[in-house]
Amino acid sequence: MCKEFEEKIINYLIGEIENENEKKNILKHINECESCNVYFNQMLKTINYTKETILYNKTKFDIFKIEKKIRMRKIFKRFLLGSSIAAAIMFIFIIVPYFKNISKKEVIEINKFNQFSDASFAIEYNNNENYFENKFANLEEKYLLIKEEFNE
């Protein structure tokens, strides 16, 4: 085989030649030179067999690694489940009431407000159905809501 092509053929096969012209020259030579063609094919097989062997070694069974991976997957699943439950609880107890209050504020339009000595209220509001009605609001949540409306 041609000495000057020995290294070039290996470099070509292991992807170390980037220059397109150089690649073409190597392939042209391989097509023309029989001994280099044989060398090319032998080296190609050698590289494939070496890759295969290294992969074979890498995928070998290791009971300790496999059991560790199973444990880690279990921990991750539990973490994911825990996080989902926490997110759902947060949504129900924090986010939903927050948006609920905002929507109340947007809907209720207060016309009159009176506070009595026993801390209860009398309000007159538009209930969006085009008529007015009087309502006593002595619940704490409504008190807060009305108070906020007035503060604005």
């Binding site: 292991i14 044989v38 070496t50 890759k51 295969e52 290294i54 995928t59 496999i66 199973i70």
Partner: protein, 191 residues
Amino acid sequence: MNKYENLNDDDLIKLYKKGDKMAMQFLMEKYHQYLFKIGYSFLNNKEDIEDLIQDTYIKIIKNIKQYKMNNYFKYWITRMLKNNIINFYKKKKINVLDETQLFALNNVEDNSPDTMIQLLNEERIAIINSIINEELKEEKKKIIEMKFNENLKAKEIAEKLKMPLNTVLTSIHYSLIKIKDKLKEKGYLSN
């Protein structure tokens, strides 16, 4: 002599269930080549083969309680690998198994020569392993593994190992030529 050598598959599984991890190690080492051979025949990408084999091993250990002690362990693990291959093709949606491949996949148990499965040569693997592990110096071994295991360019290897690019390339050439000569000597490379 290994204490597990005279035990059959089911006996080894019983030992593993009692807490003897090395019994399972021994059993799966026996089938590694068989499973690798099937995986290697159906997938081309190195990373995919690695994931497939490792995932199959995880499934085997996770489901070992469901295995009925009927001396069909080889068929049980083969079925698991086959399902994994089919799921892999479905998941990737790259290239659905064609009829020939499905036929080959359904006939992997019989090891008949007309299936498309190329037999991996145990001796060839042993030859290459002996060169890598015994005949190459630690540095050369590291370089060849970085090249073909981590798929790094020679330039990247040189940067990582803080050595000249030419030294890395020369080392790869040396190792490959050594492996080639040995394989040729043993008749694995035709002229």
